[in-house]
């Protein structure tokens, strides 16, 4: 849905800044998060600052950006992104307290492929020792903020490794598809399957 409204880079900038509105983002930190170069963000950032959607400050040679929370459209934009591209920051926040009990977690399916409808469920895979019982209260809160259902599939690290090695049909398809990591990254996933 967002792709119809905003170009890819602007979506990424807005999702990150509106998802964590109190955070000052260092330019290269933001670029790293979006998997792009700082220079490719400059024009978008200037435009968003000029329109009053972001604010900017400079410390020495470093430029920092954050959401302009006083903007009259801040809350509306934030809600739009929370319900779409803001999924990852919200899920990162709710999974963060589980620490090492979660080795890796990612969004997969239509949302990860950016092919979701407004009400698509969010499919999340969690690999670790945090069971559904512990995750469920946090998931309910996330669903309240997102306005859509979050479906979680939980694997212990042992079962995950075993299923990947036995070429489990579902896992093979998920791992081949696009993923948005909310805990860990591709290297953690590779480590879990002994790559």
């Amino acid at each position: 849905m967002l792709t119809a409204l905003f170009p890819q880079v602007r979506q990424g900038v807005l999702a990150a800044t509106l998802g964590q509105p109190d955070k000052w983002w260092y330019l290269s930190e933001l670029a790293g998060r979006l998997g792009t170069s700082p220079s490719s963000l400059q024009r978008e950032l200037s435009s968003l600052v000029a329109s009053g959607i972001l604010v900017h400050r400079r410390e020495g040679t470093r430029a920092y950006f954050k959401a302009e929370t006083q903007s009259p459209v801040f809350r509306d934009l934030q809600q739009l992104f929370e319900k779409t591209a803001g999924l990852a920051p919200i899920l990162e926040q709710i999974l963060e307290p589980f620490g090492n009990k979660i080795q890796c977690a990612f969004i997969y399916g239509s949302v990860a492929r950016s092919r979701e409808q407004a009400m698509s469920d969010v499919d999340v895979m969690v690999i670790g020792k945090a069971g559904l019982m512990n995750l469920s209260p946090a998931l309910r809160k996330a669903e309240g903020r997102l306005g859509r259902e979050v479906n979680v599939t939980v694997y212990s690290p042992e079962e995950f490794e075993e299923r990947v090695k036995s070429h489990d049909h579902f896992l093979t398809a998920v791992l081949r598809g696009r993923k948005q990591f909310v805990k860990g990254g591709q290297s953690d996933l590779d480590e879990l399957v002994g790559k």
Binding site: G131, L132, P137, E149, T153, Y155, E159, H169
Partner: protein, 148 residues
């Protein structure tokens, strides 16, 4: 959610249970918890069977409180949520957890196969057994004439 609302919306009815009715439910739970341990069954089937044991445990508590959830669309969700009214705070985490399990069980029974992982099937067996234990403890303390 309150019993007054549930009765007004015809989502629940007044019900007087009996030791015999509860013993039948206990037998059903014992069967499902035993079946959910069978290694030869798929993770999906073990998961759905343990879920059914948890649902029956919820229905036992509701029956002891003097109600029965009306069998219509969404009644599993109402049963699980209603345990908060009967058992209070200790039931909240279970209600959230079994609500997550309810959705997964619906997918298992009506939409896809290979939905539950072995990790999830083992966890729900443990949690359903614990929840049933808590319900029996609550019955013993609050409705001793209906205890096991």
């Amino acid at each position: 959610m309150t019993w007054t609302n549930l009765l007004a919306n015809k989502e629940a009815q007044r019900h007087k249970t009996s030791k015999k009715e509860l013993d039948n439910m206990r037998a059903l739970i014992a069967r499902d918890l035993a079946d959910a341990r069978l290694a030869g069954l798929s993770a999906d089937r073990r998961f759905a069977t343990a879920y059914n044991a948890a649902l029956q445990a919820a229905n036992m508590a509701i029956a002891c409180a003097g109600y029965r959830i009306t069998s219509k669309v969404g009644h599993h969700r109402v049963s699980l949520e209603s345990t908060k009214l009967v058992l209070g705070k200790p039931a909240h985490a279970y209600a959230d957890y079994f609500e997550t399990c309810r959705r997964k069980r619906n997918t298992i029974d009506y939409t896809f196969s290979n939905v539950a992982t072995d990790t999830e099937a083992k966890e729900i067996l443990v949690q359903a057994s614990r929840f049933y234990g808590e319900v029996e403890d609550w019955i013993t303390n609050n409705h001793p004439s209906l205890k096991k």
